[in-house]
């Protein structure tokens, strides 16, 4: 079947959607050609300049090799069969058929709509690079290649999603990444068959050994500099087409307390900030629970003078301390959820309504007390100092609040011990979640809650079991 019409017909028989376009044209010698592509995801200007124009203008094109030589596009490969042509067209590439030729060509002219490289909203940096990943896997891979130029860098593309056929780029450095880890990750991805992969969080669940756990098992990066640093430590990274958030494994909880900027600023300042983040998360988690427990079970937990203030503030309240705190937290969560979903300007109005109407008026009406609002607001702010852990910490805050309100401060302590007991043996691809604290890995401590200067961090993290241990060699004595 070498008739052009037949070839077009067989493709269109499978790809019946009207956005699959066919353009037929004649070459300078009168030969007939056709390009088939999906509208909206192909760069038509390049198609015209690199494919159609050369074929129309060049004389003496002879055979399949001649056609290939005439094309000005750098990304041309031979097509095998109609099934492959259909897959490539769906993927955003162009299929070129010539009348009388058995062979056809796949030309990479993918240009899906997307945004430009910009600073991600959750990882804003005062110092350091401001580039962030976009939804385009090619752009993201390029951002990685721009930073890691070693020949050992591997970017292996996998396909997943039965219907979406989403590309997942597995990034690692050979020799640095522990042996067998990329294969392990690949196996985990390939074991799952799902229709659609709309975001990297799906892949995140697939590669997590315990997807039902409250604690995540892989790191996330929205910025290529952070992503590349993690790859250079020996991790495997996954960039998913359509998602601006890349995934890295193995993962340790301490990673979330490390901001990218810590590495671009003074190490003393970075250490203080890390300690601050850690303290803030503890305060954000425990403060509402302990406040309720103190009011209900152990008033001595609150300093005496503060207790006098609290007592006068809660006097005459119709709700019990735990219900009051529960309600205040509920309002905060609702406001939080609504302000994210609502249009920007309505969200602004909502903040005013939340702060003034619900806050001020509720206090004046004697429904909730000022300390409850202060504690919940402060707790929310504290937890957002480590945004990567917010999903976990906000859930834990509810749990702590419930047990503190029902069983008292001892339950908070027992639950903490329970969490420690659970977390100490959990791991992500061989790295303990609580490393370098449990088990204690002395050398990794220098980049945990402590941030030593770069000369101290001359070795890759031991917890990651990298094959290449040294990352900094210097002849300068310091």
């Amino acid at each position: 079947m070498t008739e052009l019409k037949d070839r077009i017909k067989s493709v269109k028989k499978i790809l019946t959607s009207p956005d699959i376009l066919t353009f037929e044209f004649s070459g300078a010698d009168g030969g007939k050609f056709a390009v088939i592509y999906a509208d909206g995801i192909v760069d038509k200007q390049l198609l015209g300049e690199l494919v159609i124009k050369p074929l129309r203008e060049r004389k003496g094109i002879c055979g399949a090799d001649g056609i290939k030589a005439a094309l000005a596009s750098p990304e041309v490969k031979d097509g095998k069969n109609i099934k492959q042509a259909v897959e490539e067209i769906s993927d955003g590439n162009v299929a070129l058929f010539a009348d009388g030729e058995e062979k056809f060509f796949i030309i990479g002219l993918k240009a899906p709509p997307g945004r430009a490289v910009a600073e991600p909203p959750t990882q804003i940096a005062v110092h350091g690079p401001r580039e962030g990943f976009t939804e385009d896997i090619k752009v993201n891979s390029g951002l990685v290649r721009k930073r890691i130029k070693t020949e050992k860098l591997q970017i292996k593309t996998l396909k997943t999603g039965e219907k979406s056929d989403t590309a997942v780029a597995m990034v690692y450095i050979e020799g640095v990444c522990p042996k067998g880890l990329p294969e392990k990750v690949q196996r985990e991805i390939e074991q799952n068959k799902i229709d659609l992969i709309p975001d990297s969080s799906y892949i995140s669940s697939f590669i997590s050994k315990k997807p039902r756990s409250l604690f995540k098992r892989n790191g996330r990066a929205e910025k290529p500099d952070i992503f590349c640093a993690k790859i250079c430590e020996g991790r495997v990274g996954l960039i998913v087409d359509g998602s601006p958030i890349a995934i890295t494994v193995p993962y340790m909880i301490v990673e979330d307390f490390q901001a990218g900027e810590d590495y671009y600023s003074n190490s003393y300042r970075a250490t203080i900030l890390r300690a601050l983040r850690f303290a803030a998360v503890l305060v954000g988690l425990y403060l509402p629970a302990l406040y309720v427990a103190a009011q209900l079970f152990k008033a001595q937990l609150i300093p005496f003078r503060l207790l006098l203030k609290v007592t006068s503030a809660v006097q005459g309240l119709p709700l019990s301390p735990s219900i009051e705190m529960f309600l205040t937290l509920f309002v905060l969560e609702v406001l939080n959820e609504a302000s994210i979903r609502m249009p920007k300007y309505v969200g602004l109005a909502l903040s005013v309504v939340g702060a003034l109407v619900l806050g001020d008026t509720a206090v004046k009406a004697g429904i909730i007390s000022t300390p409850a609002i202060i504690i919940i607001a402060f707790s929310a702010i504290c937890l957002y100092t480590v945004p990567e852990l917010v999903e976990t910490t906000t859930t834990l805050r509810w749990i702590f609040l419930i047990v503190a309100g029902s069983v008292g401060p001892f339950s908070v302590v027992a639950l903490s011990a329970f969490l420690i007991s659970y977390l100490v043996t959990e791991q992500s691809y061989g790295a303990p979640l609580l490393a370098p604290f449990a088990p204690i890995v002395k050398s990794d401590m220098y980049d945990s809650l402590l941030k030593a200067n770069m000369y101290t961090l001359d070795k890759r993290p031991r917890s990651l079991k990298s094959n290449d241990k040294v990352r900094l060699k210097t002849n300068v004595e310091r």
Partner: protein, 353 residues
Amino acid sequence: MLNVRQVSLIIFMYTAVSKTLLYPTQLSGISGRDLLFSAGVDFLIQGAVVWATAYLISRTDKTFFRMLADRFGKVAARVIFGFFAAFFLFVTIYPLFEQKSYVHTVFYDNMPMLPLFLPVFFFLVYAGSKNFKNIGRCADICLPIFLVSAAFLLATGVGEADFSNLLPVLKTPVSKVFSGALATSYRFIEPCWLLMFAGNVQKSRHTAAKITLSYVAAAAIVLFFLAVFYGVYANLAPSRHFAVSKISLYFSAIDVIGRVDLSALYALEIVMLFALVLNIQLAVYCLSLCTGFKDAACLSLAASAVLAIILIALNNGFGAIEKFFSSWAWIAVVLFAVAAPLSAWAIRGKNDT
């Protein structure tokens, strides 16, 4: 597998925290101002057994069960491990009641206690089913919690202590010093923990020295704590229960900023819970080898259920339990925490490393 650091931390922290609640009160009631000597006797005897056991585990790859099975056969080993499981459950009874009273005093102003304490069994069942790796890593994570809270409590207490209250020394009759040591000996079961770790500790240099030193460090902390406690309360010490919650009470800043010591006490309670659950974990380990039943969760549930039933049945009988343990528990301690570790030397076999 545990590493030597983790074993040392277990010995260091859990030895210290398990002797900070009613132990000082009890000891000062029997030995008066010479309580340090009573404690010293126990620490000396058990220190020697700890060293012997630590030396043994540094010289063998065999578990204690293997040693017994090789020498006496598997059936005998299983029976002996059944006794060990019972022993570990037995020695958990007193700390469990002690914890219950402590929690009542320190965590609540005025509440009916038992229902509020029972949720601890969720933790005991869960953590009790965990393996040696978990025990070691919990010890790792407890280290900063223990160091910070213990340092805070000792630092806030030491300023108020009048150490001349401990003078003159050795005026108490020697018999009382020894009966103090004997009556509180059921708190000294550390060699038994070490014996169970045998064959599960990674090889390292100076294993015995490191473990023994950590025991010495724990002993030093406990003795210092006893001295501070008696220095603060003197003759009132026998009526001051839960010493750890009392030594900071006269710290001047507490009047101004409130009971900040409570946050240290709550943090220390986490370490105390891990010290408590260690006995259950070892009981589950022994039960598993005794019965051949591998489901640690079920065994932990069973062990915790037994303890929960005892706790509920004898809810108001802490006085009687204390009396029983003070009078008779030393026999079990001599058998399981002194004789058994020492006899392990005789049965350890020849294929040691």
